[in-house]
Symmetry: C4
Subunit: 370 residues, 4 copies
Amino acid sequence: MSKPLFLPALAQFLAATAGRNMTKAAYAAVVAGITAMVLLTVDPAYEAAAGLIYAVLWICLAFFVFEWGVRVRHAQQANHSHAYLASGRGLLDAACAVGVPLALLLGSDQRSAWLLAVLWVIKVIPGVPGLQQLRRVLVVEARPLLSVLVLFLLVLFLGSVAVHVLERDEQPATFSNVPSALWWAVVTLTTTGYGDVVPITPLGRMVAAMVMISGLGVFGLWTGILATGFAAETRRDNFLKTWESVSRVPFFATLGPSAIADVTHMLRTIDLPPRTTIIRKGQPGDCMYFIASGEVEVDLPGKKVRLGEGAFFGEMALLGSNLRSANITTTKLSKLLVLDLVDFRLLMARHPDLVETIDAEAKRRTLENK
Amino acid sequence: MSKPLFLPALAQFLAATAGRNMTKAAYAAVVAGITAMVLLTVDPAYEAAAGLIYAVLWICLAFFVFEWGVRVRHAQQANHSHAYLASGRGLLDAACAVGVPLALLLGSDQRSAWLLAVLWVIKVIPGVPGLQQLRRVLVVEARPLLSVLVLFLLVLFLGSVAVHVLERDEQPATFSNVPSALWWAVVTLTTTGYGDVVPITPLGRMVAAMVMISGLGVFGLWTGILATGFAAETRRDNFLKTWESVSRVPFFATLGPSAIADVTHMLRTIDLPPRTTIIRKGQPGDCMYFIASGEVEVDLPGKKVRLGEGAFFGEMALLGSNLRSANITTTKLSKLLVLDLVDFRLLMARHPDLVETIDAEAKRRTLENK
Amino acid sequence: MSKPLFLPALAQFLAATAGRNMTKAAYAAVVAGITAMVLLTVDPAYEAAAGLIYAVLWICLAFFVFEWGVRVRHAQQANHSHAYLASGRGLLDAACAVGVPLALLLGSDQRSAWLLAVLWVIKVIPGVPGLQQLRRVLVVEARPLLSVLVLFLLVLFLGSVAVHVLERDEQPATFSNVPSALWWAVVTLTTTGYGDVVPITPLGRMVAAMVMISGLGVFGLWTGILATGFAAETRRDNFLKTWESVSRVPFFATLGPSAIADVTHMLRTIDLPPRTTIIRKGQPGDCMYFIASGEVEVDLPGKKVRLGEGAFFGEMALLGSNLRSANITTTKLSKLLVLDLVDFRLLMARHPDLVETIDAEAKRRTLENK
Amino acid sequence: MSKPLFLPALAQFLAATAGRNMTKAAYAAVVAGITAMVLLTVDPAYEAAAGLIYAVLWICLAFFVFEWGVRVRHAQQANHSHAYLASGRGLLDAACAVGVPLALLLGSDQRSAWLLAVLWVIKVIPGVPGLQQLRRVLVVEARPLLSVLVLFLLVLFLGSVAVHVLERDEQPATFSNVPSALWWAVVTLTTTGYGDVVPITPLGRMVAAMVMISGLGVFGLWTGILATGFAAETRRDNFLKTWESVSRVPFFATLGPSAIADVTHMLRTIDLPPRTTIIRKGQPGDCMYFIASGEVEVDLPGKKVRLGEGAFFGEMALLGSNLRSANITTTKLSKLLVLDLVDFRLLMARHPDLVETIDAEAKRRTLENK
């Protein structure tokens, strides 16, 4: 089969559906489907509008089957349908598409089978922006987190056996075996404290107090590790982002990773309040600026130009023309990256091959301004 | 109408009321009003003193109506009454002023209508000093916090459907539908654990244990993100504050943002215990000091001068006269910002336009001291 | 009256008692007194050994009265008895000494009066090592912590009024007035969750879920602020400690605060595993070491000398003699502060007055070694 | 007795068992033993398969007895059996081996005696990778953590006596003595909140609210301290790891700790995305790289070589040959440590004894490449 010749909108929708990101239709289907699934279990809602609820569920299911189909065909066209089908993503799409029908075929009653629609909620995960960052923190800090988990299990087992021994004669119904005591220990160690199972002997309560305080300790360690990992990950992210904006500047593009790392380390971050004049016309300039966030206004003769995130200015100061040619002012709270003339020259001293590139750029810009 | 010609105190009170900050009267009205509203719902208090309670409430309401009126008129005079009325602040003021009367007009019974007085408590928010900092942390860390919220919702839905399936036969009264199971899941995942709804089957308890441990994890991530954001915000705040104290020093005022950032980075912070001698008379000096917090005492001939937060001293050392002219001692635990002669000279080398300003300042001070 | 001429041990004990720190006897009295007070409220223990318990309590009380008396007399001798009596410390000592007798005189029954002995536990506070650090964190972070407290109160009031409105018809016994609803809100917002008061209407449960999630948020902010403050405080403490060890080195003692701060910033911290050779005899040396923690062994001819925390070695390398004269090895995991020759010379360049002092020291040591 | 002459596999197993780390067999024995112990307390499982459960338990016990025996004999052979027997490890091994038999001998009933098998779970501790790091955090932060514990105990005692006084008339069954009130206070201060003991008087509830909020505060302090300690420990660990990889580079091996610390501080960390070209053939090189994590591919003529964690490349640039001889590309997200030519030369200037070693190495490598 050749490429589909349908209407362009449909083709675009198919392309979006085949892609890795959730379409708006998919988000709508997840929300509608989950809502309908929840309502299905509520007797008054079911009795009042069973037909409508089932209709919504079947439509959502149809959408997810369609989505799966589009993705399988897209993968076939690119000759990696096996890779897609066996990937976590492919398996989830398949489960979302065939889970409910399969349960119905296997004879499950209808209201129960539709509970599998809860799997649709997992589809949201790849669309969440910061989740990759979270995962990396969990991977990097896996070792200490695992240690805390082992501590958790140790306290769990030791505490539950101790309380089982101390309480089984007083409360045979609730502490007669270790699994029941383990349930109590989990509820206590996580400081959830349902109160359905509570020690009543003085010694049992002492053990319980120790388990609760251990719970605080485990929790504190857990949080401390995650906080540390998160701070490191944020620093790393910031470095990579600075690096990226540096690589986008034309005359840095030819530098190797080491020089870009140098530039990245040389950039100083300054935070400026709104309406601060950064550059005054006619003054000597000694640095260039990159806009990390915020916005500046260049007051050119006859017009005002606004530069946003990612833009840079003042670079002529690094290329010989050291009198500023316009007033530049922040319009909001801005974070700027500053590269000083001194650092720039140090950079050239360490990477002499840069001089040529820069001289060429300086000549090109001077011609352009004439 | 022209400007009010009332008594000056009233004019001042009106100006304060029209301003953005809470007046003391407004704080008193909030406390009195909320207390009266709470007492209104307590039967013994209501029976004993209904008249007094209503009197307090009507007085507080009158104050908030008056406050709203003053602000609307103030906005009209400044020709931005529409902006004020449509702003969050204006809408809150309006709701505080007309909420209760409107409820009474719409036929609500009196004791219930006055419950709307709880809105008055929101008036306190703009007066809280650190709240802006908190808001900025929440804005900067919005992306990872949102991811954690999505994780929270995922665990919530998956856990509640699983427990619904596992427990509905054993406990039809409490787990018969997913919304009830969701209630259980929220209570468990936040480790609140009321104990009104508790799984009793072994499999249900295993799912519950996983939900509780996920609760700890979600909590840890949440706290870790907020801790990281808060640390970054504190560093940023400190930089901006140092910047501010640097800009207040006369001969730095003419520097551009880049040079001020340089100075800010060159300043070293030192913490000194009380009664430490910082400068000894007659010794050669090589640095100047800014007082970030604490206090120092200058032992001048015939008198003792105390310098507090924001002041600076020892600047003569940077301007040629390098023998200290007085003993200077801390009177309490002080945080000082130190600028070394070497850094100061480096600064001048990088910003040659500074030399002139400084020479002029040095001459002025020398004349003054003669 | 002149100074007491009792036995030396008693004089020493009186001096210790008059001092600011807890004596061992005071710790013992607190532990014994609190234990007796707790046992007094337990009926079986009271019936079995009322006499013994009262005896212990009276002895402890006698000790605290004695302690208070010694301190008052000591303060009188130093002419600041008013200052002591009005200080927090003095008021606590007075309350611990006269609280129980006063309650007995005022006609309280004996078992109840002795409950005031719980105040004795507060005596322990000044003896806790890290408490001052904690207090400073709370002071420095007071502003953001206050904001979080205001947020906490806002959620508390808004949540409790909302739940009062939504639940009062269903559960008149528990949500009929706002104070009861406030009790529920505190129990929920702190995620304690007793379960004695629980919303049962769907809307009430939604509000409750929001209150619980706000509880997590408040908790996270709280922890984040404290973690940030604690990290800053730790850094500050470390700087002050390094400073202290630097000031203890004889030829740094004459430096001003700025130079000591320089030295402190120049010191690099290295962590070395046990049994690492730091200095090899006969090799050229280029740095000196301070022992921040751990221990090293100097292998001198004929004997082995161990140097502990606070000691320094290798300083001859900074004073001209640049061949190491002995092997030096760590005996345990050690943290060393390293001052490089280069930094040392930079330091001398910035503080030329140091050269003289150092030359004198070098000559003195060389003579000593001959 | 001489060395055992059994089959090599058994000898190897004995050696592994005698060592400090858990063998796979030991892990299996712990898991099987704990599972059997738990099942032993569950009546249906016990009735169905008592024989099988006891068999598993006896086998596991036999293994631990055997393990203890092997270790004792191994210690005897090395002449430190007393040290082993008295060490924490030796005492644990002994308790695991003789605990259950001893309980049986002392006449305990069989099902109870086997509960001591829970001790086996402690054997897992030395095998957990990050636990040593956790312990060091707890040791370093012991002082502030202790302060928090004292605060915890203070709130506990003051809160429980206050609630005992306020609630004992209303709820004589639950608050009649201080130990019961202490139980309530622990359950509340850790925010566990079972709900078995709850204050009902207004004043009692106010005290309870304060105890709960103190609970949040204590928790926040605890977490903040642990987070700070963990961050410092992580930095320290990273320094030690960088140090280690630096010491493994042949021509750094001869440097003293101070120079290695210099190198460690000079290394810049860069994070590179996959498929980034780090080195281009024929270009001038000015730095060398160490792979901290990730992997690179060297595109040599005729073959592709992959270098993993710990490897280094580009070192010829520091030894005279400054034209890169191959393309080198990352294959995954990699963390590289970069040492610049400039820093390397600075290093040589500060440690002139390095020049010789490096010249020799340069000559050796040049010969090898020919």
